[in-house]
């Protein structure tokens, strides 16, 4: 297949999958979509109390029309619900004009909606989904650029394995903070990869390898590794950009605060292991403090809310003044294997309001591939000569950190929130690909059989997931005899 055809096929697939997810999934059926829509509408129609009240009435009617209550599992009696405040899990939503806990995701979506002047709630909702669709396209364009640059030989494997994650396509085409957070994650890891200066997969080795290794810089393409005489501001550019992305992420979603942690871990991986680079580590921290402080100064409401969440959860974890700390802090429960199970399942497909799955066998096959990938990565990490070893370990550490953070945030309840790993899409997709690749070498396979089987399985999985969605929401088996 020529390069252009591959691009056209993947682009068509991307647009197709996006649009199918925008229009196939009935309104408000994705996780928290109703709240995100209403918060955005709150900004769009700010100050017009009559419109907001009318919006609430119309939305309740839409929820009834599309049997939202039925699909998310609300028991009998939902036909009589008149107000959103009567819906238990929407209790935290209030039609307030001002709230300290505002997310800038809602602010942006709301302001865009305001610009369009759309007044009908259903059209407004689909407009916001389409807005997400364009961000989804941007995410895949960025992925394409990234994989193409760093994996010129097999970029299409990586892009396809990302494109075929059904749940990812669903979430990224819904009205959800995760859309912007995933976009920021994509940008963050593109720059982080650059920052860490991992050698490119397709970079040709110097001819006289032994001599050049001692004289020339190891990763010639990265400006981060140029001699120390490079001006300070240029050297700091990538670091500043990473902190900026982290700050933007924390404005978009509470979980975005973890980006700062990703940045710190990145600094440690880049500089912490080398005593000579200590001054760069200190400089990185200095830049972080400056940029972070200014963001605190400009967006104090948002950061005050974030500190609240962090301290509350830390208190719950350490057991200090747990009163009012809510969920979280259940460290012992992390050992529960069901936690990792639910994360994997919901990463690939757990649609609706985490209500519908495929049968267990599908996930077991997926987990088999993932296990192979993990073993492959461990083998690669153990081999000291592996290029980009530090990056792989960094990716693994981040996945563990993100999973544990999600676990602590939610406590011991069911944690079907694989979508919280979507900002780590680049490290995850790369780890799976690299791991399976490593296993192919280990098993002495001549071609990428494991990677190809994984992608083919994802195609099957995708088709099954799609048919499951259609059957749940659009095909109803009814008997002509009432009551049967």
């Amino acid at each position: 297949m020529s390069r252009n055809i591959k691009i056209i096929v993947l682009l068509t697939l991307c647009v197709g999958i996006g649009l199918v997810n925008v229009f196939l999934m009935p309104p408000f059926m994705n996780p928290d979509e109703i709240q995100h829509f209403l918060f955005s509408a709150n900004y769009a129609y700010a100050g017009d109390h009559g419109r907001l009240k009318d919006l609430e009435i119309r939305v309740v009617q839409l929820l009834k029309d599309y049997r939202w209550f039925h699909f998310i599992g609300v028991g009998p009696g939902w036909e009589n619900i008149e107000n959103l405040k009567d819906v238990n899990f929407l209790n935290h939503f209030t039609m307030k004009k001002y709230t300290i806990s505002k997310s800038y995701f809602h602010y942006i979506y709301g302001k865009v909606l305001r610009l369009t002047g759309i007044r009908d709630p259903l059209i407004a909702f689909y407009f916001l989904r389409l807005l997400s669709f364009f961000i989804y396209l941007a995410i895949f364009f960025l992925s394409f650029v990234f994989y193409k640059k760093y994996f010129p030989a097999h970029w299409y494997y990586l892009l396809a394995s990302q494109l075929l994650i059904y749940q990812l396509a669903t979430i990224l085409n819904s009205v959800n903070c995760d859309v912007l957070l995933t976009l920021l994650g994509m940008l963050f890891f593109t720059f982080a990869y650059r920052f860490m200066a991992v050698p490119h997969e397709g970079t040709p080795k110097p001819e006289n390898h032994e001599n050049s290794a001692t004289k020339a810089p190891r990763h010639q393409e990265s400006f981060c590794n140029k001699p120390l005489s490079v001006p300070l501001c240029l050297r700091a550019f990538v670091a500043i950009f990473l902190v900026l992305i982290s700050a933007l992420a924390s404005l978009v979603k509470t979980g975005g605060i973890l980006f700062f942690l990703y940045f710190f871990i990145l600094l440690l991986f880049k500089y912490g292991v080398n005593r000579k680079s200590l001054k760069w580590l200190i400089l990185g921290v200095f830049l972080f403090v400056i940029v972070f402080s200014w963001f605190n100064y400009w967006f104090p409401e948002r950061f005050f809310k974030l500190y609240g969440v962090i301290f509350l959860k830390l208190r719950a974890i350490t057991g200090v003044a747990a009163v009012g700390a809510g969920g979280g802090g259940d460290i012992g429960a992390v050992a529960n294997i069901g936690f990792f199970d639910s994360i994997v399942d919901s990463f690939y497909f757990y649609t609706g309001w985490m209500g519908f799955k495929l049968s267990g066998a599908w996930y077991w096959v997926l987990k088999f591939f993932l296990l192979m990938a993990v073993i492959g990565v461990i083998v690669m990490v153990c081999m000291k000569k592996t290029a980009g070893r530090r990056w792989l370990v960094y990716g693994l550490v981040l996945i563990v950190v993100q999973s544990l953070a999600t676990r602590f945030y939610y406590g011991s309840g069911l944690m079907a929130q694989g979508r919280y790993l979507y900002p780590l899409l680049i490290p995850i997709v790369m780890l799976i690909y690299k791991g399976l690749n490593s296993m192919e070498v280990f098993l002495k396979l001549k071609r990428n059989y494991l990677v190809i089987s994984y992608i083919l399985f994802l195609v099957l999985f995708f088709v099954m997931a799609l048919s499951r969605v259609i059957s749940v929401f659009y095909l109803e088996i009814a008997s002509p005899h009432v009551g049967l």
Binding site: Y98, I290, S293, Y297, P300, E301, F304, Y307, F311, L312
Partner: protein, 399 residues
Amino acid sequence: MNIKKYGQWILLLVILLVSFKAITFTRDLALANYFLHSNKEKAAAYMYRILCDKPFLYRGLRDYQKTLVDNLIVKKAIYARYRDNKNIFDILSRDSKELTVEYFKTLYRDNFYLQYLFPPAPTLPNWKNLDTVSLELLTDKTLNPVSLSLWEKVKPTVDGEFAANLADYCRWQGNTELAEHLGKDFAMAKPIPNPGSPTGRESSKHLLKSLRKKKNLTIDDLQEIRPGSEDFNDMGAFKKKWQFFYISGSKDMRVASFTMGLDGAGENRCLRLMGFFAGSADGKTKSRARGGAMCKEKLSLPRGYYLLSFDYLTVTAREKPSFYLWKGISEVFLPPTGGGWKKVVYFLNNSTGGFTVIKPIFRMWGTGTVLIDNVYFAAITKPTFNFNRTALLYTSRWE
């Protein structure tokens, strides 16, 4: 000189200096939130600093700690007005339209400092309804000139009991000069017993002796459950384990004025509860306002019998002290002692396991002063007696 090398450091220094304000702001923002659940006074102080930079945040911050932040703003405004003749509300209201003097004057309607320093004074204030800010300012000796001049204006509307309580409060807080002036124009009630003296208070040893005599209970039959700083000698432990708690009988929480704290020094330190004013709620004939000290932590209560004992003193014969343990256990009202210490011995029957926890509250209803000391709470491991009621109370009859 290596210009490039030093230029880099100068650049960093400039960035640091330019960002200094943002860094301190970030520190205040984080610490305000950190102390929100552990030390509300500190949290409010940091919130005040945040508001000085960004007054528009008031609307958001008040959701978290409204009263304390308001208190700080009013206190700072009073100091600024008195010392530098500045009106900080003018500055604050530039960024946040809500932070006007009128808004705070409505909130602190009965605060004579605020009302007189920012005239005009309201038409129907209740000067006896002292708020936290007034109580704090009354203890500051440097403010005595303004406190005394305002007292002259307020005096015609208050009575002797209020003046006596206020004078007593100032004496307790170390502002004796103001205390003397406050009591000058009124026939004062009898002097407050010196809490530094152990007279009348019994030690735990004495209690055990009497328990053995009356109920055949020995130290081996009791397992002490510490509700906190029970002898109130350790100020740090007290702050950690007890908190101020008050309820007024109406929707307007400023209708009553109470305070609490430790009185005396050393081993004879005791808990002091004071009520200055207790207003009646609309449509109610009797005041329901009460205030006092609440144990911060719940104490678990397995099945069995329990003993609670403490000494208490009311300054006059009008106070209404009480203690409350948990929902379902009747609040226990204690008779006033008229200046002498009395021992309370209270047996709680939880043999059916009806209560799983308790959270002791010592409080008083209405005005006056109550002192409490030697709180002792223990599980009776070997009950030597039975009773069918939920509780048995001994006060005067114990002796």
